[in-house]
């Protein structure tokens, strides 16, 4: 009897100990993660303002905001997917196919139908991704790597390799227009960002999705259907890419088959830099938004400094490695702390 109570006391103590550790690590992670985005943000902003000519000029700021907006929109969907412990490498190809379909539909039936057609196309691609991942049980990264190739092939077959010109003037005016001096794509990004934040933080689907990403076994045991969560997440990710594709088509006025190649890397970089862990269970929409602005600033700064565009690849790769090692080192520190306390 006495040994029983002793064990219980031990269990109680270790539980409270591990809860304390978890809380402390969580706080520490929050702090390092906000520094992870804040420090590069301030550095890049300062370097840009000091060294890059015309960095703060009206046209450059507009340009940065448009690019940041488009990146952020794709990033929201990716944030959800990564929080659910998945990945979507096909966003670049999805964006391209949505943009091409939108461009053709705009020329045929006008702006509204074109926009809807582009987003609908993207949703179909999202369903395909979700279906391959949930029904065939193909791991997300390899499934979306494959569909990246398949969708890109579809884009090139659809366009025959030639660019599609858009001749609808109002449609082209949409993404290049401003409201009170703020470019419309940026406003779209802010509105959608708020919607995604609400979905992730305040709605049942978002809470369940994040829970399923953090601990799939526990989520299943509490009655969450992971396959449904995943299917919806991949459709939302594809739909965000579709919205961005329509915005890009509108901004550029012409769509070619190689639109959005390499986009997946930029998007993953901003999501992870924004504080969403690759291990799942934590999605940070505000961070994604801030990181999108950061990346747009980096790209624009490098352009203004006349750095060859090849260096942007290297900058992006370095940024990604920085963000990921931060994430990896943190996860390891947490694991060590937990194991240390428990054993």
């Amino acid at each position: 009897m006495s040994s029983h109570t002793t064990t219980q006391g031990l269990v109680e103590r270790e539980r409270s100990l591990s809860a304390e550790t978890a809380a402390r690590m969580d706080r520490r992670q929050r702090i390092t993660q906000s520094f992870g985005i804040l420090i590069p943000f301030v550095v890049v902003l300062a370097v840009g303002l000091i060294f890059a000519p015309n960095f703060a000029s009206g046209s450059n700021v507009t340009n940065m905001l448009v690019n940041a907006g488009i990146l952020a929109v794709v990033g929201y969907g990716m944030t959800l997917v990564i929080a659910l412990r998945g990945i979507d490498l096909s966003v670049g190809s999805t964006l391209a196919l949505a943009a091409v379909v939108a461009a053709v539909a705009v020329n045929e039936w006008g702006g509204v139908v074109g926009t809807l057609a582009g987003i609908a196309m993207a949703c179909v691609l999202g369903v395909i991704n979700g279906f391959v991942i949930t029904a065939f049980r193909v791991p997300a990264f390899i499934a979306t790597l494959s569909t990246m190739s398949v969708f890109r092939g579809a884009v090139l077959l659809f366009t025959g390799g030639a660019p599609v010109m858009i001749d609808d003037a109002p449609f082209k005016a949409f993404a290049t227009g401003t409201v009170a001096g703020i470019p419309i794509p940026f406003i779209v990004a802010v509105v959608l960002g708020f919607a995604m934040w609400f979905l992730l933080e305040r709605m049942r689907y978002g809470r369940h999705a994040v829970a399923a990403g953090g601990n799939p076994e526990a989520a299943v045991d509490s009655g969450i259907r992971i396959s449904t969560m995943q299917m919806i997440a991949y459709v939302i990710a594809a739909a965000s890419a579709g919205v961005a594709g329509v915005l890009m088509a509108s901004q550029l006025g012409t769509v070619n088959g190689s639109l959005g190649t390499g986009l997946e890397l930029q998007v993953i970089a901003i999501v992870v830099l924004g504080g969403t862990s690759m291990a799942g269970g934590r999605g940070n929409i505000v961070g994604t938004f801030a990181a999108a602005v950061l990346l747009a600033m980096i790209n624009s700064g490098l352009n203004l400094l006349n750095v060859a565009s090849f260096y942007q690849y290297v900058a992006l790769g370095a940024l990604l490695v920085f963000a990921l090692s931060l994430d990896g080192v943190q996860r390891q520190a947490i694991r060590r702390a937990m194991e240390g306390k428990l054993s």
Binding site: R85, F136, S149, L157, G262, L316, L320
Partner: protein
């Protein structure tokens, strides 16, 4: 549970049966080889030109280019890892070879290219083993890093290769069998021995199936990861150097998208992405299968864009079938 049983049964059967029976058993498992042969005959039936010596040589060339890189990838996948940066490694390594060719011997250029490939592989290994980044995302990042380096180095231009000695070596054939195909066969044999007969291979397969257990058993997991990535990098580089010799030039975009074909060749060949085991013979058949498929599409005059669609679809199908057949465990490359 089922997997262990399967392996136990296999081990018992292998021990009991004689060599002849084992060969038959091994062959009966190679349904893929049957598919390859049927496909080859079907293509040859539709277009007899397929069996022409020159065309078969082309097929062997493309099988070898993908296959040499796929040997390294087989090692990585058996260890539960993955390399998406092959196109970048090939670009940097072959540009290195092309740039130093005017100043060194042919052998020196090839050697330097391969060394550069091994170093780039080592970079991947450090990202994965020490910075703890999931292999697919780490190598996706380094793909762009390496491509960026290649473009910066060449300023986006093509580096021509004027050395006829080098070009002759890369395109050399014995009858209709290219030298690259011979190199591929030798490397496949080496990979098989590495994977199945060495301490390195055993460690690789051990942590491929259960990293925690391997670590607790005292295996040098991180060191083995570094070696595996270096070998994979060196093999990709070798494939790239031969490719450059055949193209008579090297540039940043020379192998874009090849990682898809390489992974597809390995996975279709029967090496499961979940890690723990790898079949080099399957990889050889897989590489040949994709070479025949690509060649068939060309011969039939199908738009080359279909190759993107086909490679992706075949890869999904192969993994989906694999997931259905064995009770799919968690896949390692993802995290």
């Amino acid at each position: 549970m089922t997997i262990t049983n399967y392996e136990e049964r296999e081990a018992v059967a292998d021990a009991r049966s004689s060599l002849g029976i084992r060969v038959v058993q091994q062959l009966s498992r190679q349904y893929l080889l049957a598919i390859l042969i049927v496909l080859a005959f079907a293509v040859g039936f539709v277009n007899p030109y397929f069996w022409g010596g020159g065309n078969l040589e082309n097929v062997l060339f493309s099988a070898a280019f993908v296959g040499i890189a796929a040997c390294g990838m087989t090692l990585l996948i058996a260890g539960g890892m993955l390399d998406l940066s092959i196109a970048g490694v090939i670009a940097v390594a072959s540009i290195t070879a092309a740039k130093v060719l005017p100043f060194t011997s042919v052998g020196g250029a090839i050697f330097l290219g391969v060394v550069v490939g091994a170093v780039l592989g080592l970079v991947n290994g450090v990202l994965v083993a020490y910075l703890r980044i999931a292999p697919f995302i780490a190598t996706l990042g380094s793909l762009y890093l390496f491509l960026g380096l290649a473009f910066i180095w060449t300023q986006g231009r093509v580096v021509p290769i004027r050395s006829t000695n080098f070009r002759d070596l890369a395109t050399m054939s014995f009858g209709h069998v290219p030298l690259v195909a011979v190199v591929f066969t030798v490397l496949a044999a080496v990979t098989f021995l590495l994977l199945n007969r060495t301490y390195f291979g055993r460690t690789l397969r051990a942590f491929g199936s259960n990293e925690r257990a391997a670590q607790l058993a005292g295996a040098h997991v991180n060191r083995t990861k570094l070696i595996a990535f270096s070998i994979a990098g060196a093999m990709s580089a070798l494939s790239g150097v031969f490719m450059a010799g055949r193209l008579a030039s090297a540039e940043g975009n020379m192998a874009t998208g090849i990682e898809m074909s390489v992974i597809a060749a390995v996975v279709v060949g029967g090496t499961a992405l979940r890690g723990g085991r790898g079949t080099v013979f399957g990889t050889m058949v897989g590489a040949s299968l994709f070479a025949v498929l690509g060649n068939a599409l060309n011969l039939l005059g199908v738009a080359s864009y279909w190759q993107y669609v086909l490679t992706g679809s075949v890869l999904i199908a192969a993994i989906a079938v694999g997931a259905r057949r064995r009770d799919a465990a968690e896949v390692k490359g993802a995290g």
